[in-house]
Symmetry: C2
Subunit: 384 residues, 2 copies
């Protein structure tokens, strides 16, 4: 198929910030793009050829949209997989596939998939409803502390809570959920694996994530991770094993824990461009967004190694501020060497809302990390 | 001024490919953009917030458009400078200024400017009309061979011709023009200088250009240029002198000849993102497009050094093909390491039409140059 012609059409489910960054890279290849999103104010609107309004969980909306494109991908996991399956049967290329997405969409199914495929992951229990957890604790079937996770619709720290005492369950939605054993770990790591339909596979360098202790959102993504070559190899091998098990097409971001005795446990995966890969825009030979396009269009994969070291800082709304956003000191951080802000264009900030990210690149990871801290200390996402 | 808010509006005169790449980088800062172009099919349409139809040489069109924005820039030199001047008087920030642009727009004025400012440039003569040249040759006032240049509206090899014998003048438009002494040179070099209203200045590394012998279009841009540090310093110093003389704001691409005895002569300048800076997207710490935005918004300038070596290959229509374009072997070049195509999305190709460019990056300039030749030998811009 000739992708570089106006007859070809790429469909993207979801019109958010990830989709917008993906669309930016479609410009390199002059791919004709069509986006489906439920919001008439979706960020993607500025960067696509066609925009369609529709609910991503609605069968008809996704199916009818999918029928108008040649290749269909998504920037968010919460889409109607039955519609994807129906489209696949009718010859639309859906990447990642409905099968891959189904297993990932539900965290309980995802965990069972790891167990079935011999992939190391933290022990867990599955509950049909959150209100069944208290009984399990009372009768000794479940020990505190643990991590509560909604099986669906959780992302960026939503749908996840550390439960140290039974009262911490209060206020949680009464939904299907899992509880995971708390693993004491040294590091949270991630590896992005990319695979095209031809079966070509490549991995990005291991990144290290530092989370904000309260908001449970990534604060720094550090690439390459400051770990031993042995641990990096182990993490990469496990990520490849996960990738092989899913037999996915496109990007697969594999998030992992490095335990205190250097075991690697898979936490969760995302079959799309991911927060742990934003630094690839500036630091890698091929950005994760270009790479996803190469993969789903069955083009040759690009180099995945680093041009420079890179650190990514999430820009989240400061506590105590809600309203029209101001990026205080943004000019100050732009004067620091190797610093590029990415502002997502949301008008209103609120505590911990993800408003953008900043990439810091440098010849040395130590310098990049140091500048990243200066960035973090200087910039404030506040309201007018 | 708070650029990172929806109240601010950046205006761009010209909706072509350079503008589109500039617009892509406005997304990092979430700048609200408005574009004026005469074509309803301008490439920029996909990437701007607002699009206005209008002739860039028409006073009213430019003036009325300019009144709706806070900062006004352009991606093409052929715009109405009287309108820019009127806008400046009414407080619109026009970068580069009407004064800078006026001097550059007319090649005769540009050459006189170099002479007035002690900037080395090839000797030249000015003619009100092309048909006056033959007399000058006949009466011994002008010697063959020379380079004929239209003083206006020339770019990408249009409006330029090497005249070796008097018959070569046939078919040239009868317009205001200059004739330049042919300078035997080793290299064509270029330096991009950036300057913001605060007076901060930075220079990109010297690049070396190889031109296609027939089409007079750049075939390879090589960064860093394979020249001695002394020559690089001389070229950079002269580019800075030109920049200082213009007192410009934004990018200034300074094209130069390195003569056989290592003198540097300024050929011409462009006050905007330039073909000689496309490799900065992948190879530099800060792309020329982001840098132009930083400059015209009076933000701190970004690093201008290289992350990697880079070579840029122009994709121009092959001879003998006119019609719906096909990028033959594009998948083959995408399998080469460090290769990213940039397809401009023009539907029809014709001989020597600029259809896109390809960037090749690598740790070593020798490797990048070698791969660039493989790219050049493999890809063919042909028609269906």
């Amino acid at each position: 198929m000739n992708y570089f012609s106006s007859n070809f059409k790429l469909g993207i489910l979801g019109g958010g910030q990830l989709g917008k960054m993906l669309l930016n890279d479609t410009r390199k290849f002059d791919i004709h793009t069509s986006v489906l999103d439920a919001s008439p104010e979706a960020p993607c609107k500025i960067a696509c050829n066609e925009f369609h309004l529709g609910d991503l969980m609605d069968f008809d909306a996704v199916y009818n949209f999918g029928k108008t494109v040649d290749v269909l991908t998504f920037e968010i996991e919460n889409v109607n997989t039955n519609a994807l399956e129906a489209l696949e049967k009718e010859g639309v290329k859906v990447y990642p596939s409905s099968k891959t997405l189904r297993t990932i969409q539900n965290k309980a199914t995802q965990k069972l998939f790891y167990v079935d495929n011999g992939i190391p992951t933290a022990d867990f229990s599955r509950f049909a409803y959150t209100n069944q957890i208290e009984d399990a604790v009372d009768n000794g079937g479940l020990k505190l502390p643990f991590v509560w996770k909604s099986t669906q619709f959780g992302y960026d720290g939503n749908g996840v809570k550390v439960v140290r005492k039974i009262e911490d369950l209060e206020g949680l939605p009464n939904v299907e959920c899992i509880t995971e054993t708390m693993i004491p770990f040294k590091n949270e790591l991630a590896v992005i694996v990319v695979r095209n339909p031809n079966g070509n596979v490549a991995t990005y360098p291991v990144v290290e994530m530092e989370f904000h202790p309260e908001a449970n959102q990534v604060e720094y993504v550090i690439c390459p991770a400051r770990i031993s070559p042995e641990v990096a190899k182990k993490a990469t091998d496990i990520a490849l094993k996960v990738s092989k098990a899913y037999n996915h097409v496109g990007l697969l971001a594999v998030e992992m824990f490095q335990t205190n005795n250097d075991d690697i446990l898979v936490n969760e995966v995302a079959p799309r461009p991911h927060n742990s890969g934003h630094q690839t825009i500036e630091a890698s030979y091929t950005s994760q967004f270009e790479q996803h396009l190469r993969a789903i269009l069955n083009l040759p994969l690009g180099r995945t190694d680093n041009k420079t070291a890179g650190v990514m800082v999430n820009l989240v709304g400061a506590e105590g501020y809600t309203g029209n956003v101001i990026y205080k000191n943004i000019e100050k951080i732009m004067a620091m060497p190797g610093v590029t802000p990415h502002i997502y264009g949301k008008r209103e900030t609120r505590p911990f809302r993800k408003m953008g990210h900043v990439t810091i690149i440098s010849e040395s990871i130590e310098d990049a990390r140091k500048i990243a801290e200066d960035v973090k200390n200087a910039i404030q996402v506040i309201s007018e």
